[in-house]
Structure formats: structure tokens, C-alpha cells
């Protein structure tokens, strides 16, 4: 698999000494057994943080044990804390006898007094501090060497909603949320296979973001899984805020505009891709998950291609690919034809175009670039403004500005139509990254076509194809099944054939288990 030079580049800022210091400056070593001393050691981190709550109490018994609960406000579920942790300890305790040795006692507390599911013990000061700021509840007891770490994380968060980016007409309306645990559970509910592995790790020295790598052990290619784990483990940044950070740090080639991973919000797409032998990377605090390896053609597939009948699915696909082609090349083609090869345009059309163009005072290239810029402004403005205002902008700019520009003879109607079609076409591409890529490669292609006509246009496309053929995603050829050409995978590329004919897993994605579904399904045909 590709050893990436960017890793070397990444390493540098991380081995920077002051960041290392910040992390290792936490006191290591065992926690002092006495409660006062333990709190004294932790004091610097407890006092300066206004959101850390210290609750001193006594565990009921004879004699009562002084104890302290430490947690962060708003990160834990306070109802659960009061009901299942504090209440049993204060009201019931351990029963009669508290005189035994500490090791035994803490096990008794763990086993009989705290009524929560996830609970572990911690010995070291830095572990306790990390656990506290990771959002766990820490219980410290007097004269006991260990602390209890309880997971009752909760608090306010967004509930599972319909995905905003990947909308679907006939699929499930369930999107990922910002919570890793919930996201993993959403996938688990879809694939109940015990071989679905969830590998957990943390990324970011300061943010300590939980990251999960999911794959089906007996389907996914072990080499790819190992490579993805390695890449994630090599990440060494301070704060990881979104899956987008991770994506940029683990992708194969940063020098490309094309998205080398599939970024999805829909749980069903993630589940389907897992079943094809791919690896899903989930970062906490991010409602988008990453799927590796990804293919170029996948950026034009949507979930409902598979939920609707095969013919409906096959009807949509070519339009999306056409949309990509037009989004990339329509303005360039217009310029190339109009300024270099007008003989290619039918005569009647050419005359009307020329008549409109004659009024416009500057060359067609400038006209196109100006219109492209304006459209980009409109998109940007529509995104930034609040929803109702955004629509107004659309109407104002689209109708009034366009009409006024034509009347004022600042633009010919053809250019406005061409640019409008190209822009609408980018919105037809289901994948946002691919839509952006189309919008970006539009510009160099435009310049090439404006300088060298159709020759420049085809040279540009040759470069795009050469570039695409050389890309890899997790070491897998990105432009498959076109280059390298894989006939067996064409059934799910430009068209999508019947579901019962998907006998084997796609050859473009390395996998262990070739067979996807059994023979003898009738598919309702016979």
C-alpha cells in the first residue's frame, strides 16, 4: 500500500515540544489513598474549571466513608447520576460493615452499590483526570487506592433526524448524529452480524475525540483494514473537530480535487458499503462518516437507486453522469465552439447566437467568466443568508439580475443559459465533494478551451482522465470499473441491473468473501 509522503510532513508539527509538554504535564503516578490528598493532587484542574462539579458525600455505613464525586456539568446525565449513583450510596451504602480492607471494599461498592452499566477502576492520576474530562463520573473514596469511573454520559444533543444532505424519497429517513455511540448503534441495528468489528481509538491530543473504525471481519480485505487503522493511528493533531479533519489526514493524495472517500450522512449507505467489504470511519462530534475505499462512480450513486425498481434506478444514473460532464465542460465547450470552431454549430443557431453576441462589448471568455463569478456569488450568498432571505436572493439574482444584464447588453442570453445549466447540473451530483470538484475543474478547462479551442478542451479531458486513472483510495484504483476496466462491475455503474443479479461483491473493492447472495432467487421473473 502507498506510503504517503504527507505523513512525513504531518509528523513535524506534532513532535513539537510544547504540545508534548502540555499533555505529559499531567501528574502521573498512583493516586494517593487518602481522599484529602487525592483531591489536593487534582485541585489545580478542579479549581480553575468552572464546569467541574465536586460533590463531597459520605457512603452510608458504619463508619461512614468520606467520598467525592467529580464530574463535568452538562456532559453527564444528571438524573441518572442522582438516581443510580448518589442515591444508593448515600441512602443504602454497603449494609453494616465498612471495616474491611480497601481492595475488597471498592469491589463491593462496584458490585453492589452503584447501579449503572459501565463502570471501571482507575489507578493513575492522569487516567482519572482524562476520564473526568472525557465526560465520565469519578468516584473517590477515602483510604482506597482506586477511583471508580462511571459512564453515564448524556446531556443535551441532537436527536436522530432525517439527513439534510443525502435526501431520499423511498429510503429510511435516518441520519447520523454527532454522537459516536449512537452512530455505531445505528449501524449495529442494520447489520447484526457478530463479525461486524468496531475498533475504537482516540484522535487528537487535546480534543481526545473518539474515533471508531467499522468493518465486517470476514468480508473486508485485511490489508485495507490494517492500512486504515495505521493511517488513523498515525494522526497526531491537537484538536479533531470533524470527520473532515480525519479525512484530510488519511486520504491517499491531497493534491486532487476529487473526493477520495465517500462522506455520507445516511446510515443505510454506510451499512450497504460495509457489506461490500469497505471500512467505515466514524468520528465523534461529526454527523458525517467516512467510507474507504471509495470509487469515482460511487459519487453518482444514491440510496434510492437501490430501493426503487432497477429500471428506475438505471434511468437516474446516466443523467447524473451527464450532469457531471455538462457541469465540467458546458461553458468550455461553448467558448471553444463559438470562438474556434463555429462551423460545428448548425447555421441557424449560429446566426441567432451571433446576433445576440454582437451587442455584447467584450469577448465571450470574459462574458463567461463574469457570469461564472456572479453565479458563485449567488450560491455563496444563498448559503450564508438565513433561509427565507436566501430564497429571495435566488429570485432577485436569477430573474432580475439576469434579465437586466441581458437588457443592458452586458451578457448574451446564451451565456446565461449555459452557465445556469452548468450550475444546476452541479446540484444534480449527489456527492457534495464531487459537485465541488466539478465546479473547480471547470475553470482550468475553461482557460484551456478559451486558448486552444476544441484541442484544448480534449487535452483538458485527457488530463482529467489521466489524473483519475492514477488516483487511489485506500490503495484501490479510484476510477474502476472504467480504468482498470472491470466488466463484472459495470452492472452497477452507468446503469443498475436487477438486485437479484448482484451475485458477487464488486471486484473493484478487494474483499474476502466473493459471494454476496445465493442463487435460485427468482427475482419475480419466472
Amino acid at each position: 500500500m502507498r506510503k504517503l509522503p504527507r505523513n512525513a510532513r504531518l509528523k513535524k508539527p506534532v513532535s513539537d515540544t510544547n504540545k508534548r509538554d502540555a499533555v505529559t504535564s499531567l501528574p502521573t503516578g498512583a493516586l494517593p489513598p487518602k481522599l484529602d490528598e487525592a483531591l489536593e493532587v487534582l485541585r489545580p484542574w478542579l479549581d480553575k474549571n468552572g464546569d467541574v462539579i465536586q460533590r463531597l458525600f459520605k457512603v452510608k455505613g458504619n463508619p461512614p466513608i468520606p467520598a467525592a464525586a467529580l464530574y463535568i456539568e452538562g456532559v453527564i446525565d444528571s438524573t441518572e447520576f442522582n438516581r443510580d449513583v448518589l442515591y444508593p450510596l448515600m441512602m443504602h451504602g454497603l449494609g453494616a460493615d465498612n471495616e474491611n480492607q480497601s481492595d475488597y471494599l471498592i469491589n463491593t461498592i462496584l458490585q453492589t452499590a452503584v447501579a449503572t452499566g459501565q463502570i471501571t477502576k482507575a489507578y493513575h492520576t492522569d487516567d482519572v483526570l482524562h476520564a473526568l474530562f472525557d465526560g465520565f463520573v469519578i468516584l473517590l473514596f477515602d483510604h482506597m487506592a482506586e477511583a471508580l469511573v462511571i459512564d453515564i454520559r448524556g446531556g443535551e444533543m441532537r436527536s436522530v433526524q432525517e439527513p439534510i444532505v443525502d435526501k431520499s424519497i423511498s429510503g429510511p429517513r435516518e441520519g447520523f448524529v454527532e454522537n459516536l455511540v449512537v452512530n455505531v448503534a445505528l449501524i449495529r441495528r442494520k447489520i447484526r452480524d457478530p463479525n461486524l468489528v468496531v475498533y475504537r481509538t482516540t484522535v487528537g491530543q487535546r480534543s481526545r475525540t473518539d474515533v471508531a473504525v467499522l468493518y465486517i471481519e470476514d468480508v473486508a480485505d485485511p490489508a485495507i483494514v490494517a492500512e486504515m487503522k495505521k493511517r488513523i493511528d498515525e494522526i497526531n493533531i491537537d484538536v479533531d473537530l470533524s470527520a473532515g479533519y480525519i479525512n484530510q489526514l488519511i486520504e491517499d493524495n491531497p493534491y486532487t480535487v476529487f473526493p477520495l472517500s465517500r462522506v455520507v450522512e445516511r446510515t443505510d449507505i454506510a451499512a450497504a458499503d460495509l457489506a461490500e467489504g469497505r471500512v467505515v470511519v466514524i468520528s465523534d462530534q461529526s454527523p458525517l462518516v467516512l467510507i474507504y475505499p471509495a470509487l469515482f462512480i460511487e459519487m453518482f450513486q444514491t440510496a434510492e437507486d437501490y430501493y426503487e425498481k432497477a429500471m428506475v434506478g438505471s434511468f437516474w444514473r446516466p443523467f447524473r453522469l451527464l450532469a457531471f460532464f455538462l457541469a465540467v465542460s458546458l461553458p468550455s465547450l461553448y467558448i471553444a465552439l463559438l470562438s474556434f470552431q463555429p462551423e460545428l454549430i448548425p447555421l441557424d443557431l449560429l446566426i441567432s447566437m451571433a446576433r445576440a453576441r454582437a451587442m455584447v462589448p467584450y469577448p465571450v471568455v470574459f462574458e463567461t467568466i463574469i457570469q461564472l463569478t456572479i453565479i458563485q456569488f449567488i450560491i455563496e450568498a444563498g448559503l450564508r443568508l438565513p433561509n427565507p432571505l436566501g430564497q429571495t436572493i435566488g429570485v432577485v439574482s436569477g430573474i432580475i439580475l439576469g434579465q437586466a444584464a441581458i437588457t443592458a447588453k452586458l451578457a448574451s442570453p446564451e451565456v446565461i443559459i449555459i452557465i445556469a445549466i452548468a450550475t444546476i447540473a452541479t446540484f444534480c451530483i449527489p456527492n457534495y465533494g464531487m459537485a465541488m470538484a466539478a465546479r473547480i475543474i471547470n475553470i482550468p478547462l475553461l482557460i484551456l478551451s478559451a486558448t486552444f479551442g476544441l484541442f484544448g478542451f480534449s487535452l483538458g479531458w485527457l488530463l482529467i482522465i489521466a489524473h483519475l486513472s492514477g488516483l487511489t483510495s485506500a490503495g484501490v484504483p479510484y476510477f474502476a470499473p472504467f480504468a482498470p476496466f472491470r466488466f463484472s462491475d459495470l452492472h452497477d455503474s452507468i446503469i443498475r441491473i436487477f438486485l437479484w443479479k448482484f451475485k458477487n461483491r464488486p471486484a473493484s473493492i478487494p474483499h474476502q468473501d466473493q459471494k454476496r447472495q445465493g442463487d435460485g432467487q427468482r427475482g419475480g421473473a419466472q
Binding site: M1, R2, K3, F340, Q341, E343, L344, I345, P346, L347, F452, G453, L454, F455, G456, F457, S458, L459, W461, L462, L463, I465, A466, H467, S469, G470, P477, F479, F482, A483, P484, F485
Partner: protein, 365 residues
């Protein structure tokens, strides 16, 4: 990762060879073939295919004895350091010359048909840079691009069938009328259209399954022959042999025959796609020459190969500027044809002889 950038499957080899063979040739072949042979041009094409066939067999037989050594090591082992080095240099010079001719002829066609007011050297520079980018990605990617472009080209070739409604099949008759000597004379120049098989010398060690090389080579040759035959036949029945001599690029002219409602002139569509297609030999030869060159200079392929590609491309571009005009450029392409005959036939024979001497006559084992 190390050598995997220079690996090809036998399936990719088919398209790699096809891409090296079929290029500008398919545009001029019908005219060249019918110059002497007249209506029997297609027989000349058939006979012309014997040269690459022979070459293919000889090269495969030879390389089989040195499966992983590569062209340079093989030459040095057979001929010694100096003579072997000289032969490798000569091969590299041939590669440079061949790509220079391709890029120049390509630029000429582009200037004539698409950009009449652009200086031809601008096209050469632009094309060289674009191709250098593709070639620098290594054999694996070049193989993939070849394959993809071949399928696109196949779709385009279907367009030439549209001209068949003007076909006059009596143009093919009488068969064999032009005489054996004329046909043989023609077949000498038709064999040039298959120039490119000799690249097998360089790519042989990159093929993953050596036992399938000969099959892949034959498949490539077969497909090329069929496509050439189709082009020649269609041109013959549409133009007739004598009229064809007046047309510089008869195959391209076929597309002028039919007027489609929306796309006014079909040959432009063809030319727009043709860039990738006509530039393939350039890409393949640049890849091969640069690979050889890196090995010859004893440099690390993974590190220095992309830089070498740029240098090779620069030299190619300079050579391409030597011919003074279109006529001379086309003349150079016939020199390239003769050079092909030497490289494709004399080289393997020479190497086989050397191998025989070295191994004491026990070669074809």
C-alpha cells in the same frame, strides 16, 4: 509499492500494444495501402500484418529466456557492456524518433483541421506537457488509460459505418488484379501501421503473467488487423482506390460524408476525441523510453522516473521541430517506418543469434 507502478496485467498488455500500434496510421493507411495495390489494398494490409506477427513471436521467444531481467540487462548480458549499451542507446533513439514523429504529425493534423492560425510548435509543447503528465504516472496507469481510450475509440469507429450508404461494392473488384508485386510493395508500407509491437522488448518484464504474453500479443495484433481491414474496406468501397489518393486522411474524410442534424461536422467530434487516441503511442513510447533511460543511467525508478520523463519529453519536442513543413514531417514518418522494420525484425534476429552463441546453440528450448 516499489515496482508495482511498473506492472501490467496481460489484459492491459493487449490494450497497451493496441494503443501503440493504432494511431495516426488508421487515418492514412487506406491511402498508403491502395497507392500501389489499388482495390487489393486490403490484401496488402493482411500481408503487412505478417511483419509484426513475426516480430512478436521472436521477441516473446527471446524475452522468455530472460523473464525478469529487462531489456537493458538482457542486452548487456548478450552483447557485453559496450555493444549492448550501444544497442540499448539505439533503441532509445528509435523511441525518441518515433515519438517525435508522432507528436509532429499530430500537431500538423491539429493545425490543419482545428487551429489553422496557431503555430505548430505551440501544439507540440502543449501536447508534450499533457502526455508527460500521463506518462509520469507509470506503466500501470498508462495501461489503464490505454484501455479506457480504446473503448471510447471503438464507439467512434462505429461512426465511420454511417458512410456505408454511399458504398459501391464493385470498387473491390476485380480481386488480385493489381498483381503480386504491387501488393507486396504495398504491404511493406502497410506493415508500418503496426509499428509498436517492438515495445514488448521493454514492457515484457512488467507483465505479471508471462505465460499469457503471447496470447495477449496475438489478440492485440488480431484486433488491430481487423480494425485496419474495416477502415481500409470502408474507404475502398466509399471512395474507390484512385480517388482515395487525392484525400490526405481518407478515414477522417468518411465522417464528412454524412450530415447529422445537430452536430454539423462529424469529423470535428472525431478529432476532439482523437487527441487521447492519437497521443497514445506518444504516451507509451515516452513511458518505455523513460523507463529504459532510468535503467540505463542506473537511477532509482521510483525516485527519478518522473524527472526523466520530462527530459525525454523535452528531447522529443526538440526532435519534432526538425522537419521544416508538413511534407517533410510525413516523409519523416516513412523513415520511422523503415526504422520500425529494422527494430522489429533485425533486433530480435540479432539477439537470437547472440543468445545462440552464448548458450551454445540451445535456444529454442
Amino acid at each position: 509499492m516499489n515496482s508495482s507502478r511498473f506492472q501490467m496485467t496481460s489484459k492491459q498488455l493487449v490494450f497497451f500494444l493496441l494503443g501503440t500500434m493504432i494511431a495516426t496510421g488508421i487515418l492514412t493507411l487506406p491511402r498508403v495501402a491502395s497507392k500501389e495495390a489499388g482495390p487489393d489494398a486490403w490484401i496488402a494490409v493482411l500481408i503487412g500484418a505478417l511483419v509484426p506477427l513475426l516480430s512478436l513471436f521472436m521477441i516473446e521467444r527471446l524475452c522468455r529466456q530472460f523473464p525478469d531481467q529487462g531489456f537493458i540487462d538482457m542486452s548487456i548480458e548478450l552483447f557485453g557492456r559496450y555493444l549492448g549499451g550501444f544497442l540499448v542507446l539505439l533503441f532509445m533513439a528509435y523511441g525518441l524518433f518515433f515519438s517525435a514523429v508522432v507528436v509532429r504529425v499530430f500537431a500538423e493534423i491539429t493545425v490543419i483541421y482545428m487551429l489553422p492560425r496557431t503555430p505548430q510548435y505551440v501544439i507540440v509543447v502543449l501536447l508534450s506537457l499533457g502526455i508527460a503528465y500521463a506518462a509520469a504516472k507509470g506503466a500501470k496507469v498508462v495501461g489503464r488509460i490505454n484501455e479506457l481510450i480504446f473503448y471510447i475509440f471503438l464507439l467512434l469507429l462505429l461512426l465511420t459505418f454511417t458512410s456505408l450508404r454511399l458504398a459501391e461494392f464493385t470498387y473491390l473488384l476485380p480481386i488480385g488484379d493489381s498483381g503480386i508485386t504491387a501488393i507486396l510493395k504495398s504491404s511493406l508500407s502497410t506493415s508500418w501501421a503496426f509499428a509498436g509491437v517492438e515495445i514488448l522488448f521493454v514492457v515484457y518484464p512488467m507483465i505479471t503473467r508471462k505465460d499469457k504474453v503471447i496470447k495477449a500479443g496475438l489478440t492485440a495484433l488480431g484486433i488491430a488487423l481487423i480494425l485496419y481491414l474495416i477502415a481500409t474496406m470502408i474507404c475502398l468501397v466509399v471512395y474507390g482506390a484512385s480517388l482515395m489518393q487525392q484525400v490526405l486522411f481518407p478515414t477522417l474524410g468518411l465522417l464528412k460524408v454524412v450530415d447529422f442534424p445537430l452536430i454539423h461536422r462529424l469529423e470535428f467530434l472525431f478529432l476532439a476525441f482523437w487527441l487521447g487516441f492519437g497521443a497514445r503511442p506518444l504516451m507509451n513510447f515516452t513511458m518505455a523510453t523513460s523507463f529504459n533511460c532510468t535503467g540505463f543511467l542506473g537511477l532509482d525508478v521510483n525516485k527519478h522516473y518522473p524527472k526523466i520523463v520530462l527530459v525525454v519529453m523535452l528531447i522529443t519536442g526538440i526532435i519534432a521541430e526538425f522537419p521544416r513543413n508538413t511534407i517533410q514531417a510525413l516523409q519523416w514518418s516513412s523513415y520511422a517506418g523503415y526504422a520500425f522494420l529494422i527494430i522489429a525484425l533485425v533486433y530480435p534476429v540479432l539477439y537470437h543469434l547472440a543468445a545462440m552463441v552464448r548458450k551454445g546453440g540451445d535456444v529454442n528450448a
